[in-house]
């Protein structure tokens, strides 16, 4: 640690104004403050004088995402070996998934940070750290077979048009990772939906080649529900990729096909615990998303006209990206509502919208992404009226 500090101090003059590497000043600054908490805190004004800056906050979110990411890697391998009908043991399964997921993480970070560093250098600003979290979220919310160049294009689009044009980290209206996914979803629908993209059946870097077994079908449980919704209600049962029936417990554990990081509710709950204990994410938002989703699902259960309406509230919360979105996306402090009452309203509507889209829109089996993006738009409006109501309430009290 000491040696690293000394090394940084030694090369620092090169990056100061007039030094020979001055053009990379912001890059150096970014890495220095990433590795070491700066000693300086703000001296004036109403700021919290604390060394926990946004880099430290972001790292907590990344740590909270790790259980879901590691589980996602294992699940990627697990689904693959299930599809080709062999069992190579725990470590080979994990390594297969690691090799399949790692390139996505690298591409997402390279493209996103590259643009952020360039913009920071160009505008002569410090590097903003918001992409630390977005960069790891992006690979976790795409199917395993999404081509790397698509991720690169979508990441570049999202960082430039959802973030930098609004003024960078902290000013964006929409969640950057979800804009990336929405771009992929609408630009390359064939690569983002359907039955054949959720499980990688080919080998990865030469590992795990083999023939797909006969019974294989790669549809996700939500995909199956979406297809069944078009038919009349009968005895409907979601199945795994080999045709074995799935239960609520399977949805909870998460060894089912889906986007890389979203399947396991257990891993997401561990992450949620980390976020709540450290106080990084708002428990009000998180809780009300689940309540909103459950309430809406219960209403649809009462109607019960189609297959997707009869899915129980618990299953709805466990399936697809609902839990992942509720814990990691809806709680984004920048794009969600900021007033305390507003957080309840915002969260409740996110959950309710997600289930409405699932149940009523025949085109999209999953609604979490669109629900959060939609409510991102309304978050400032919710805040405005919450503040307004507060002012009116206190005004009445004062006039009396």
């Amino acid at each position: 640690m000491k040696a690293l500090r000394n090394y940084l101090d030694k090369i620092k003059p090169n990056f100061e104004k007039g030094g020979k590497l001055a053009m990379f000043r912001s890059v150096f600054d970014g890495f220095e403050t990433f590795l070491f908490t700066p000693n300086t805190t703000s001296k004036s004004g109403v700021h919290i004088h604390d060394s926990v800056d946004s880099k430290r906050t972001m790292i907590v979110v990344v740590v909270a995402l790790l259980p879901a990411l590691l589980f996602g890697m294992y699940n990627t391998g697990y689904q693959h070996y299930l599809a080709i009908g062999t069992d190579p043991g725990f470590w080979m399964t994990f390594i297969y998934g690691l090799l399949a997921v790692l390139p996505k993480i690298i591409v997402s970070y390279l493209v996103g940070l590259g643009i952020e560093f360039t913009v920071a250098q160009w505008k002569n600003e410090e590097i903003q750290e918001g992409f630390l979290v977005s960069g790891i979220l992006i690979p976790m919310i795409v199917p395993v077979d999404t081509p790397l160049w698509m991720i690169a294009v979508a990441t570049a689009f999202a960082v430039i048009f959802a973030k930098e044009v609004f003024g960078g980290t902290g000013y964006n209206i929409f969640n950057v990772a979800l804009v990336t996914r929405a771009f992929l979803f609408f630009a390359y629908p064939a690569a983002m939906s359907g039955d054949s993209i959720w499980v990688r059946t080919a080998d990865t870097f030469g590992i795990g080649g083999g023939q797909v077994v006969d019974a294989y079908s790669g549809a996700t449980p939500l995909g199956q529900i979406g297809i069944a919704a078009k038919e009349a209600i009968g005895s409907f049962q979601t199945v795994d990729i080999l045709g074995n029936p799935l239960t609520t417990w399977d949805y909870f554990v998460g060894l089912i096909p889906g986007s890389i990081g979203e399947t396991s509710v257990i891993a997401i709950l561990i992450g949620a615990l980390i976020l709540l204990c450290t106080g990084v994410a708002s428990r009000k938002t998180m809780l009300s998303v689940f309540i909103g989703g459950a309430a809406m699902a219960a209403i649809f259960n009462a109607i019960g006209a189609t297959v997707v309406m009869t899915v129980s509230p618990i299953d709805h919360l466990f399936l697809g990206g609902f839990a992942f979105g509720a814990v990691f996306m809806a709680t984004d402090p920048v794009t969600s509502a900021r007033t305390e009452t507003g957080k309840y309203i915002y969260g409740f509507l996110v959950g309710a919208m997600a289930i409405i889209i699932r149940a009523l829109n025949p085109g999209y089996p999953e609604g979490m992404m669109l629900a959060i993006l939609l409510m991102n738009t309304f978050a400032p409006l919710i805040d405005y009226y919450v503040v307004d109501a507060n002012i009116n309430r206190r005004l009445k009290r004062a006039v009396k």
């Binding site: 160049w149 294009v153 048009f161």
Partner: protein, 210 residues
């Protein structure tokens, strides 16, 4: 005063860049989003609007001293409607396919804000020749933006230009896929925004203070 005096040159060239109806005055955005998913309809739409604005400008300019002020909007609408009908019939006769692609948007030229804007702001106060140049300039200024937007949307959305395959087949074989979002209207808005971005950063005097 010559036919192309400095003032007239400014009337003609101003709308192409510094005073562009679409990216500076923000007029005619609706049709710019609707017809630009392919290059060919963009070009035809640009030319149609140019013809309508130019001749409507001339006619209103000739009539400007005889139109009673209180009914001038009605007179302008009659003139524009007549011209739009002519353009529409010509397109149906000589470019039926494009006419079908443009569908209602040819008829909707009548509601294009650029038209009423130029008639009100320019033709009612200037002579026929200046009005003609102003109409040509504004029509082309509108057309240029449409062509740029149409170019990028067709290139990335369909891999073609004017219907011809531009992106080679070998690209598709190694995994390239057309960008479906480019075909959808939201992307037209973003392409227009990028044009405005580039344009404003090259013309510092157009940047708004905030």
């Amino acid at each position: 005063m010559g036919l192309l005096s400095n003032k007239n040159k400014e009337v003609l060239a101003g709308p192409l860049s510094k005073n562009n109806p679409v990216i500076v005055q923000m007029l005619g955005i609706c049709s710019a989003l609707a017809v630009t998913s392919k290059l060919e309809p963009s070009i035809v739409m640009g030319l149609s609007v140019t013809a309508v604005v130019a001749f409507a400008n001339v006619i209103i300019s000739l009539l400007r001293n005889t139109i009673p002020n209180r009914i001038r909007i009605i007179v302008q609408l009659v003139v524009v409607a007549a011209l739009v009908t002519i353009v529409s019939e010509v397109l149906k006769a000589f470019a039926y396919d494009v006419n079908k692609q443009l569908s209602v948007f040819v008829g909707l030229i009548i509601t294009n804000c650029i038209l009423m804007g130029r008639l009100e702001a320019f033709a009612l106060g200037n002579g026929p020749w200046e009005s003609f140049l102003d109409g040509i300039g504004n029509g082309l200024g509108y057309g240029i933006i449409l062509v740029i937007v149409g170019f990028f949307r067709e290139l990335f959305g369909s891999g073609t230009l004017l219907g011809f395959q531009v992106i080679p087949q070998s690209f598709y074989e190694i995994g390239y896929v057309n960008n479906g979002l480019m075909i959808l209207p939201p992307m037209a808005l973003i392409v227009v925004a990028v044009i405005i971005w580039v344009h404003r950063s090259r013309n510092k005097d157009l940047q708004e203070e905030n």
